[in-house]
């Protein structure tokens, strides 16, 4: 299908392009930006007056609540509604993604929905048990873009070291959540709030000890590591130094840690029960600065749909996690506005930079995903930067209705509203239609 996006402000973070231009799309690819050939006859025209035409968002951490009837459908619809055209999902499904067949099946089902590209992380160890490594080559051929332990601990440092060594043989990236298993049993960040509320704490040392350990193993094995969801100022510092040393490490931060602190727990609001836990103001400030200066490469939704019953519990018993796919764009813009960044700089953290983190794993798609280039794939997000909205759980497409940014409890004003999402030149979502317009 030939599509023309007319009169939009085209912002491509990778090239720095920020100008009014038309975008012509045919056969799933962008054929022209600006100078559209006179003989281009679109079958469909999207009027983008007042809107930004940006690359589709790339979210490096979104859980799909698989398996579950209709779960993949609802969560990929949430991605499309949030302008997310590629997402990476961790392997902690039931069963964990430790066999090529499981990955094939998941990718096949996602492709059929044609809402969003799905890039699974394979389990680093069988059953995420932390003891025996998986068939990483087969899993990669099935479509895994890296290997992860999700929230599960490794049995010991010897096994971790071997897993990193094996992964690095083929240049696979190991995605790790920096947390020390024995120190991460608490339900809130250690500090004044946890002490006052009588909640068990997770100390910063849980993160820093894990970072130091993994970084030492990176030095020894040469493995490429992506650190998932940094939560502390000390953690940002360690990653900054590792990068300065030239080690092959990257990192991301969640929308929750970027905008909230433990004070937001208020009177035991279970929507604030998150992993990693929300830390203090100085940590949030360091995460924001780290994301701005590139120490942290990407901003992620850390999307985790949690059922209502699992949140209607005392804080410590509530299941950690929050919905996020439909909030990612707005919370990236909010951070960018508050940090006085250009639109291109804010968008880079959810488009071109996460693609750089994925690197070779994306194959030829890596040349154009997260970017707007002539000849590249037409993964596009058209949004109104001046529209403001508030999160009402019922209006979300995701089955996860719980978020710290719920208007009723937080009153957060969200800048920017997605109008159209295109995946491979096909309209995956349109605000007007409100559904799959393809």
């Amino acid at each position: 299908m030939k599509i023309m996006i007319r009169n939009g402000r085209v912002v491509d973070p990778a090239s720095g392009r920020d100008e009014a231009a038309d975008v012509a799309i045919a056969a799933g690819r962008i054929v022209a930006i600006g100078q559209v050939p006179a003989d281009f006859t679109p079958e469909r025209t999207i009027e983008a007056d007042g809107c930004v035409v940006a690359p589709g968002l790339v979210d490096l951490a979104a859980r799909l609540k698989e398996p579950g009837p209709g779960a993949l459908e609802s969560e990929l619809a949430a991605a499309a509604a949030g302008g997310v055209t590629s997402l990476v999902c961790p392997p902690d499904m039931d069963p964990p993604l430790d066999e090529p067949g499981l990955v094939d099946m998941l990718k096949f089902r996602a492709r059929k929905l044609s809402r969003c590209r799905l890039f699974p992380l394979g389990a680093l160890t069988q059953g995420l048990g932390g003891a025996e490594i998986t068939e990483m080559i087969d899993l990669t051929e099935a479509g895994c873009v890296g290997f992860s332990q999700a929230e599960a601990p490794m049995r010991d440092n010897l096994t971790l070291s071997r897993a990193m060594q094996y992964a690095s043989t083929r240049g696979y990236t190991v995605w790790l959540r920096p947390q020390d298993a024995s120190l991460s049993g608490g339900v809130a960040a250690s500090g004044a709030v946890a002490t006052r509320l009588g909640l068990s704490g997770v100390p910063v040392a849980s993160e820093t000890i894990a970072l130091h350990t993994v970084i030492e193993l990176v030095r020894q094995t040469g493995a490429r590591v992506h650190f998932c969801r940094l939560s502390s100022a000390a953690g940002v510092d360690i990653v900054r130094r590792a990068k300065a040393e030239g080690l092959p490490v990257t990192a991301d931060v969640s929308i929750n840690s970027l905008h909230l602190t433990d004070i937001d727990i208020g009177y035991f609001n279970a929507d604030m029960r998150l992993t990693p836990p929300l830390r203090q103001g100085k940590d949030r400030d360091a995460l924001r600065a780290g994301l701005a200066d590139g120490t942290i490469d990407a901003l992620v939704s850390d999307h985790t749909p949690i059922g209502h019953d699992d949140k209607m519990l005392p804080f410590g018993e509530a299941v950690p996690g929050a919905t996020g796919l439909e909030l990612l764009l707005s919370l990236a813009l909010k951070w960018g506005n508050e940090s006085k960044l250009t639109l291109a700089q804010s968008l880079a953290r959810v488009t071109s930079e996460p693609v750089r983190v994925l690197g070779e794993a994306l194959g030829s798609l890596g040349q154009s995903a997260g970017r707007l280039v002539e000849g590249g794939v037409a993964d596009v997000c058209v949004f109104d930067p001046d529209a403001e909205w508030q999160v009402t759980p019922e209006a979300l497409h995701s089955r996860g209705k719980h978020t710290p940014f719920d208007a009723a409890s937080s009153g957060t004003r969200m800048p920017g509203r997605v109008r159209h999402t295109l995946v491979a030149g096909t309209l995956a979502w349109s605000a007007a239609a409100g559904a799959n317009a393809a």
């Binding site: 006052r196 009588g198 208020g266 035991f268 209607m312 409890s409």
Partner: protein, 320 residues
């Protein structure tokens, strides 16, 4: 900012639930203590009853066992002429898999007027208060490590009874403060009522430095901790802390932080010794101190009933 409004108070600033002492104004604490004073005489009468809660149903919901606290609430409610229903939920619905809020919905349908809740999770009474019928009042009878507000209030009643004023007091709280809901409630109450020096005394594993952020002076030496104290509140050392990574043994704990007559001699001559009970003789407190002339441990129990009567009668008089 719905979730951040103090859920204990109605729009007029009146107490509708008692969940924590934190965030309550001094006037409400004083009102409770004053009201408790008037109830103390009821307990001395031949007919120990007043009709303030006649026709009301008070449900004791104990998700965690505690015979003693439950009994004092039961006595207090009965002396106010309420109907009291005791539910030992640890042994019934929770073990059948019923969720906390389903249990609450069911009991609400039985026309409860007040829930007295004990739960092992910090914050559980807040969840109940948020989701119960608007006319129902919730009293926190101890949640996790978070709060035990009626114990805090009865401790304040006891201190005021013996010391008259809080304005010049040095109060030492000794023991497992990090895991203690009693300590947290005492600290908030003492701070609100104007006690100038509150000390948290114990080894670093039980009294970590970040307690300073609650406005207390942290002492890791018992002699320094009790020196010139007007009030010494000893906390119970739970059995599960007596060995492991927190403490090597009950014996070594007693040697360094047990209250003996020698240590008590360092406090003010008219110091009082308190304990929320049940006491571990020879673990946190020497028998001669527990039974000695400075001990006010048994009067605390008596005052506790009057304080719980005061809390329940005040709550019953306020509408959401």
């Amino acid at each position: 900012m719905l979730a951040r409004r103090n859920p204990q108070l109605n729009a007029h600033g009146e107490l509708i639930h008692l969940l924590s002492i934190e965030g309550l104004p001094r006037a409400i604490l004083t009102q409770i203590l004053d009201t408790a004073g008037t109830f103390l005489s009821v307990n001395d009468r031949d007919v120990k009853k007043v009709p303030l809660l006649r026709g009301k149903s008070v449900f004791n919901l104990f998700f965690e066992n505690s015979t003693r606290t439950r009994t004092t609430f039961e006595i207090a409610a009965k002396r106010l002429s309420a109907d009291v229903i005791n539910l030992d939920i640890a042994k019934s619905s929770a073990s059948k898999g019923e969720s906390l809020l389903d249990t609450i919905a069911n009991l609400s349908a039985m026309h409860a007027d007040m829930f007295v809740v004990r739960h092992s999770e910090s914050g559980a009474p807040y969840l109940i208060a948020r989701h119960c019928a608007p006319h129902v009042h919730v009293v926190n009878a101890g949640d996790g490590r978070h709060a035990h507000p009626t114990q805090g209030l009865l401790d304040m009643y006891t201190i005021r009874h013996y010391k008259k004023s809080f304005n010049e007091l040095t109060v030492a709280i000794v023991g497992d403060i990090v895991h203690s809901r009693v300590a947290r409630s005492d600290i908030h109450a003492l701070t609100t009522l104007g006690a100038p020096e509150i000390r948290a005394v114990g080894p670093k594993t039980l009294v970590p430095g970040d307690l300073r952020e609650m406005g207390v002076r942290v002492c890791h030496d018992m002699r320094e901790g009790v020196k010139d104290a007007d009030v010494i509140i000893m906390l119970r050392l739970q059995n599960e802390r007596m060995s492991g990574a927190m403490l090597p043994s009950a014996g070594e704990y007693f040697k360094s932080f047990g209250l003996t007559e020698d240590l008590l001699a360092l406090a003010r001559p008219d110091a009082i010794v308190m304990h929320p009970g049940p006491i571990n003789r020879g673990v946190e407190i020497d028998s001669r101190v527990a039974d000695g002339s400075h001990s006010v441990i048994l009067p605390q129990v008596t005052f506790g009933i009057a304080v719980r009567m005061a809390v329940m009668s005040i709550l019953a008089g306020n509408d959401a």
